[in-house]
């Protein structure tokens, strides 16, 4: 349970950090280390070189910019959870953090690191997709933005190229009339989800508008449920409709299974949690 040897670099400016990625050596970025270090302790990850970004200046922020809430690469879960800006504009993120990890892990772990790790049972990849977040991937020659739904490709796999680093996440501020819901079941509070369902929607003139719904813990990466969204758009909120959509989403799912929560159980969780999370969002919209 000891990590394999690696070279360690601790640059103090971003360009120097990015320059290290532009090489043949197998290199990983070390931010909070709360996912990468366990993987290294198990030797599931054996990078030749780690670039510790903890001493880079100006990456630890949660701020408002051009209508977005922008979260920097070194913003720790604990600080984001406690942020007034998040509480005001992104209550679904604040709620999700009630389910994410434990205090000591949140003290060091970063949102950007969590997203790059892309664990199939991690909550934030689903949350970022319903919020329409954009990932800012930086390399020496410049940066590009990747939509959250194009970012997660598979288990521990993202759209980042080897020479790119996720430097910030930009989350558009939701419309004032938009509402949200979040539900999860995990073995222990703070553990990875067996099933997370998260939703954003609004209700206008008694009709559901712009529903976005995503799940974690079900397939090899968090993803949106397009068929459920289509089934909700423009419909009046109605218990039978929610249950029917949950039933068919559960039928369509091909859930992953583990020894603690097998595939059939996760399918059942999806069927049970979905109407609950939708009803919570609809109720909130009426407040």
């Amino acid at each position: 349970m000891k990590p394999a040897a690696f070279e360690y670099e601790c640059p103090t400016d971003l360009k120097a950090a990015l320059a290290f990625l532009d090489a043949d050596t197998e290199t990983r970025i070390l931010a909070g280390g709360q996912s990468l270090v366990p993987m290294m302790n198990f030797r599931m990850a054996t990078p030749e070189r780690l670039i510790d970004i903890n001493r880079l200046p100006d990456l630890d922020y949660v701020r408002e910019e051009d209508g977005d809430i922008v979260i920097g690469a070194l913003a720790r879960h604990g600080d984001i959870k406690a942020s007034e800006l998040i509480a005001e504009h992104l209550p679904v993120v604040a709620e999700a953090y009630e389910w994410i990890a434990h205090a000591a892990v949140r003290n060091r772990g970063t949102l950007c690191g969590n997203l790059c790790h892309a664990d199939p049972a991690s909550e934030m990849p689903a949350v970022m997709q319903v919020l329409g977040a954009r990932m800012v991937a930086s390399r020496l020659s410049g940066s590009r933005q990747i939509a959250a739904e194009d970012f997660f490709l598979g288990t521990y796999e993202t759209a980042l190229e080897p020479d790119e680093m996720l430097t910030e996440v930009r989350i558009p501020k939701p419309e004032p009339n938009s509402s949200w819901g979040f539900e999860e079941v995990a073995m222990r509070k703070g553990d990875y989800a067996w099933c997370t369902v998260v939703v954003m929607l609004s209700v206008e003139d008694g009709k559901i508008r712009q529903p976005r719904i995503a799940v974690s813990g079900i397939s090899d990466h968090a993803h949106r449920l397009g068929a459920t969204e289509a089934g909700l758009e423009g419909r009046a909120p109605d218990t039978a409709l929610l249950e029917e959509l949950a039933q068919s989403a559960a039928q369509d799912a091909d859930p992953i299974g583990t020894e603690t929560a097998n595939s059939e159980y996760r399918r059942d969780l999806l069927r049970v949690l979905m109407p609950r999370v939708l009803q919570a969002a609809i109720d909130r919209a009426g407040e």
Binding site: E7, L30, F42, H102, A103, N107, R108
Partner: protein
Amino acid sequence: MKKIAVSVTVNGRQREALIAPRMLLSDFVRQELELPGTHVGCEHGVCGSCNVIVDGKAVRSCLMFAVQAEGSQITTVEGFSADGELHPIQTAFWEEHGLQCGFCTPGMLASAKELLDANPDPTDDEIREAISGNLCRCTGYEFIINAIRSAAKTLRDTENKKTLQPA
């Protein structure tokens, strides 16, 4: 691999060492600094036994490389007591039977101290949340919650006495 010089303040004492980057902070305090009070349980961030306080925050020392602690202030369980006197949180664990085998206790103490430093009068729910990342296989947790509640009261009473004393 190249060794790296690291300089940290542990329990108020400046310590320096030349170490491999792959050395975990938990192994560093136990082996290099010979402070075996920090316990290593799962070594992948699940059990919380190895929690120590780094710059005022509880962290899993098995999920941090010692080289990353350069320049930091670290408190391990050995730093809780001063001159052979137990810290009020330790006393409360003793009096309320907040430990049986004691393996999880150093980590529990770190989590409890972080909580009480920020929140001198926590509710039971807040105490449960604070230690939710620490596994204990003996106590069933209730006695630990009692201990932290009792320690909070002792610390508040001490603080009140200080404030009431004439300057």
